[in-house]
Amino acid sequence: MFDAEQLPDAGEGQIKPLNDLLQKIAASKGCETKAGPGKSGCGSTGTESTLPPEIWEKVKNHPCYSEQAHHHFARMHVAVAPACNIQCNYCNRKYDCANESRPGVVSERLTPEQAAKKVFAVASTIPQMTVLGIAGPGDPLANPEKTFKTFELVAQTAPDIKLCVSTNGLMLPKLVDRICQYNIDHVTITVNMVDPEVGAKIYPWIFYEHKRYTGVEAARILSENQLRGLEMLTERGILCKINSVMIPGVNDEHLVEVNKAVKARGAFLHNIMPLISAPEHGTVFGMNGQRGPTAQELKALQDACEGDMNMMRHCRQCRADAVGLLGEDRSDEFTTEKVMAMEIDYDLEARKAYQAKVEAERDATQAAKADELAKLAGEKADIAIQIAVATKGNGRVNEHFGHATEFQIYEVSTAGAKFIGHRRVDLYCQGGFGDDDKLETVIRAINDCAAVFVARIGTCPKEGLLKAGIDPVDRFAHEYIEQSALAYFKEYLEKVQSGEIEHVARGDADIRQGAFTAA
């Protein structure tokens, strides 16, 4: 039975008090002296206004990089790279690379030929699919032949699909030239430390130049290659995103240093993800009781690193063979068996037409948001609230409360509505619990939100939410999310000013463990 009071607590000697971190935030902020509302203009997640035009042009249709694209375009991953050349303490190699998917996920492994056919099948069925990533199940650059062969096959038939690759970075300097050769325009490197002493607590060993290295030496070699690789890529004009796993008490504060180091070397986006850790994953951290961060700790660190760099908050740690818009997974429609039986006609023109339509829809969303923001102009308030949204995508409030397997969280202030992350509520490790427990789970996950926007909601959960102090809102059903959030916030402010309601800071929320498996 869950209780909102039972959230993991920040003491226990595992992590320094959050205050320390908050102070660092103050110290490292590029353009704000304190955390809080009113941070417009200094690096919200990949939007048109915060990125140089040439970078925006590259990322605007990339769902993993541009938050807007994330609602409209789809990416797919193919699992062609099973081998890895390092060991991370949060990874169990029975499963997929934990840098790129949630722990405990196993993807179907494909040969490059199978993978290419799958890409064509998906791209023909889902015209929004604009990006192909190779991210595992191991390290793509530890499997260079399979990885590059796949890219080569895809580029021959589907030149409109953007290619990206994720890596732990160990082999980057040696493979940079091949990455350029295959016209890969995005690389994600997982960098958890720039200090080998910290690294030794995360990586027990690496395999490099025919030798296994351990301890600080291993971490030093890894770190050098990661940073050199990053420099080499940005010098060659290839966009680099950095992933970091936040491990409380191990690298949480250190990630502020990592952020500076990668920023200095030209990374354009930094994505800090929570450690997902449970004993049943069979990882070192899972077994030794290392906990993951709470939602508040994660957000504090993301805010601390935001400064003048783009932070990515919409990563949902999808699986290595995921297919679809972020937040949905249609991989079951594209099993190897089904794909191999398909006749595929790759229609480049039809895909272009469809993407143009999406572009128009997206512009409409932006315009609606701008309109609503204009209404808030002149309002000044020190209040920021968070709103949870049940959505199936397309930037609209269009999911029933009871069907939602995750919520999108927006922070709203007079500065605007900002997407800050996902909260999963799927019942992956919840077998056997009744509906009441389900509601408790949802409340725990969105406990830091003042309201939840849904397309529809039943009476029972409505009452439960109200009791927990979360306002269930269904009157924005099928409207644009950001516009609705701003409208709601305007009313909220008015009510606070008239004394009808009192603004109270909400508590912390829980980050769900386990693999995202819902379709």
């Binding site: 190699r93 191991g138 025919h210």
Partner: protein, 71 residues
């Protein structure tokens, strides 16, 4: 002399296959195994047995007692 793979622990990640200097490792129906005739325990190539050094599961690539080093 040869190494062998303890199949019950192997994750079939293929890492060893790519590292073997003698191409002694292959896969049949998803199961990886070492050809004891071709395996040289990496002697003459590297200081350490490459398969054991890269394998993510401790104790999965091990010396095969059925094919010991000649004394």
């Amino acid at each position: 002399m040869a190494y062998k793979i303890i199949a019950s622990q192997c994750t079939a990640c293929s890492a060893c296959e790519a590292e073997c200097p003698n191409a002694a490792i292959s896969v049949k129906k998803g199961v990886y195994f070492i050809d004891p005739v071709t395996c040289t325990e990496c002697v003459g190539h590297f200081d350490d047995a490459q398969c054991a050094a890269v394998c993510p599961v401790e104790g999965t690539c091990v010396p095969d007692p059925a094919h010991p080093r000649s004394a």
